[in-house]
Structures are given as C-alpha cells and as structure tokens.
Amino acid sequence: MCSVCGCATATIEKSGAPAAGDGHGHDHGHDHHAHGHSHPHDHAHEHPHTSDHASGHDRENAHDYGGGLAGVHVPGMSQERIVSIERDILSKNDSYARANRARITQRGVLALNFVSSPGSGKTTLLVRTIEDLKDRFEIAVIEGDQQTSNDAARIRATGAAAIQINTGKGCHLDAHMVGHALEQLPLGKGGLLFIENVGNLVCPAAFDLGEAHKIVVLSTTEGEDKPAKYPDMFAAADLMLLNKSDLLPHLDFDVGACLAAALRVNPRLQTLVVSARTGEGLAAFYAWIGARAGGAGRLE
C-alpha cells in the first residue's frame, strides 16, 4: 500500500500489469507510477513482463513503496534506500591540489598557473620570461595541450625542464594530471614552476592545480569585453597580463575599457600591459614574480 495516501494504486500488481490505469484519480505529486527507467532487470522473473516501473520485485510481486530499506516514502524519491552523500564534486580535485601545493611549497617554489584562450601568446611569453629570469631562478614548466608536444619543445629549447601533458579530449588540466607531472619534474629549491594550461578561457577556472596564483593572459587582438564575456576566469585570477601591446597602434583596442571590465569582475585583480615580443612591461611582471618567489603559498 502506498504509505503516503493509502491508495491501492501503487501497491500491488499481480502480474506486472502497470497499475496506473485503474481509474483511481488522485493527482498528488508522486511519480512512482510511471518511471522512465529503461535499464535491464537482472533478476529472474517467472512471468514475461516488460514493465519499466520501479523496484520491489523481490517481495513476491508486491510493490511496496514504503517498505524499502529507508522505511520512508518521500514524494519523488520512491523506495529503496536514500543515502546522504553531501560531497562537493570538486573535492577530489581539491584534495589532489592540496597535495600538489604541499609538495610545491615544501620546496619553496612559486607555482603560477597561466590561463588564456588559445593564441594569446602564453608560450611566447613563457619563453621570453624564462630567457630573462633563468639566471635568477631555477625554472620548470608543465605544458598542457590537447595534442602535440610542440610547446614543451619550445620551452626545452630555453634550457628549462618541461613536461608536456596531453589532455586528449580534455579541455583543462586537473590537479591529478599535474601531480603526476610533478613526480617527474625536478623542482629546484626556491625556484619557479610555470604551468601553462590548455588554451581555454572557461574550464580551467574551476580547477585548482595547487598553484599560488592564476595568471590570466589576454591579448590585444581579442575583444576588450572578454572579461565581461568570460568572467569566471578573470574572477579566479590574481594577475592579468594584457599581452601584445606592441600591436595597439594597429588596433581599435580600448585598454582602459578592457581593464575596467576586468576590474568590475574582480576588484582585486592586478593588471599589467605587456608585450612578450618587445619586452614592454615585462620588468614590472618580473618584479611581481620576484616579490612572491621564495615565499610561495604564504598568500594561501
């Protein structure tokens, strides 16, 4: 018997005939009469029914929606056991990220996670930065791309250690992948770890990799309203580098409007206008790194 209203409708079905059509016209909101489950029954029936209704078959064809393990009937949650989970979906990634962060900060390394859309000049910026800073810091790089190890090859040409992660179909790096890369990557004490994320202005925002800071790279050849269009990434970042400033004379790009849009999304965001090609603004970027290196994680 239905334990909510006491009606017989949903309770007993002799040979699997769906009970919903017995002219019993109540309309309150439980939905156990016509479940849309289409998964195969894996227990034996001696009668040939093809029903797709829910559960309870082991009690001699009685469908008791209040007698499951949970012992209660909740409208919309029929039968069986309701187990409370209350777990964040990203908790697993976050636990890997914590392990990465511990490993990185233990070595006194400053880890920076570079995120941007494809083509913003991340790799060029990293190559230039490594060239300019490699005498001051030991630098290691994790490169994330869907395919190819072209970027890691470009980084290795500078003399820095680089590990390429190919995510296949994946649209971002996660903390688990980075953890495996860290197993193989030598981290010099007090050095720098650059993580170049997959070119994607959306997904990497949600995934903590264990870095000290996310740095979002935007280029002047993209729209100045990018921060408004893709706010998550700009909200997640601590520093924005507006790259390709050398092209500004040829473009209708409004730097002020771009920075304003970014600050609206994230009032705490720091911004620098740079050119990886000419080196404009990079001294300020290096000073930003220098102020944080050696004490990575202290802002955590």
């Binding site: 489950h37 039968q79 309701i82 187990v83 989970i85 777990r87 979906i89 990634n93 925002a205």
Partner: protein, 113 residues
C-alpha cells in the same frame, strides 16, 4: 565542456560510495547546482548519461536542484540576492558584493538499491 570531467567526478564519488556502503544500483542522484556557478545543468545531464553507461549508475535519473545566488554587500552590510555572478547589490546597486551562495556543485543524496 568541463561538464564531462565534472560528471566523471560525480561518478567517482558514486563508485566510491557504492563500494563503501555496498549498493549495486543507483536509481536517482540529487545534485545541488548553484544557479550562478559555472556549470550548465543541461550539459551535465547529457554527460551524465554518457559517462554512467556500464556503471552502477547506468540509467539513473539526475535530479538537479538549483540553488539561488546570494552575496554579501560590504556597503549595506547585509545579504543580497544575486542573479549574475558579478552582479550589483539589489539594495544600493554597488559592486562591492562578495558572492556567498550560488556556486555550489554538490552531490546531495542518492536513491540506491
């Protein structure tokens, strides 16, 4: 489409709980998803069907409970409803609002057998 890996995260939790609590089939999964978070519910449902094939959660219904956005306005010193992630305070129109709810992505409970 990071919904795919989020869905794999959901499946990880389901399979872990299935081993721990000893159930072999999941009928329904209830998720709390923040209304102004960065998850698209439709994509989540689509991916869930694909990812759960051949698992304990195959055919399970994904019930998504949308939780409303809210934030704390530093100027009004009170909580305000938020309809967009970086929206203004509903009382003063100011932007000094820190989001406090609406970003959830949480597996709440499951109906299992």
């Amino acid at each position: 489409m990071h919904e795919m890996s989020l869905t794999e995260g959901i499946l990880d939790i389901i399979e872990e709980e299935s081993r721990r609590r000893g159930f072999s089939r999941v009928r329904k999964v209830r998720l709390e998803v923040g209304a102004i978070g960065h998850v698209e519910p439709h994509a989540l449902v689509f991916c869930f069907d694909a990812v759960t094939r051949g698992t304990v959660a195959e055919g399970a219904e994904l019930d998504i409970i949308s939780t409303p956005g809210a934030g704390w306005c530093f100027d009004c010193e009170k909580s305000t409803a938020l309809t967009e992630r970086f929206g203004a305070c509903a009382y003063c129109g100011g932007r000094r609002v820190q989001m406090t709810a609406g970003d959830e992505l949480r597996l709440k409970d499951m109906e299992v057998e």
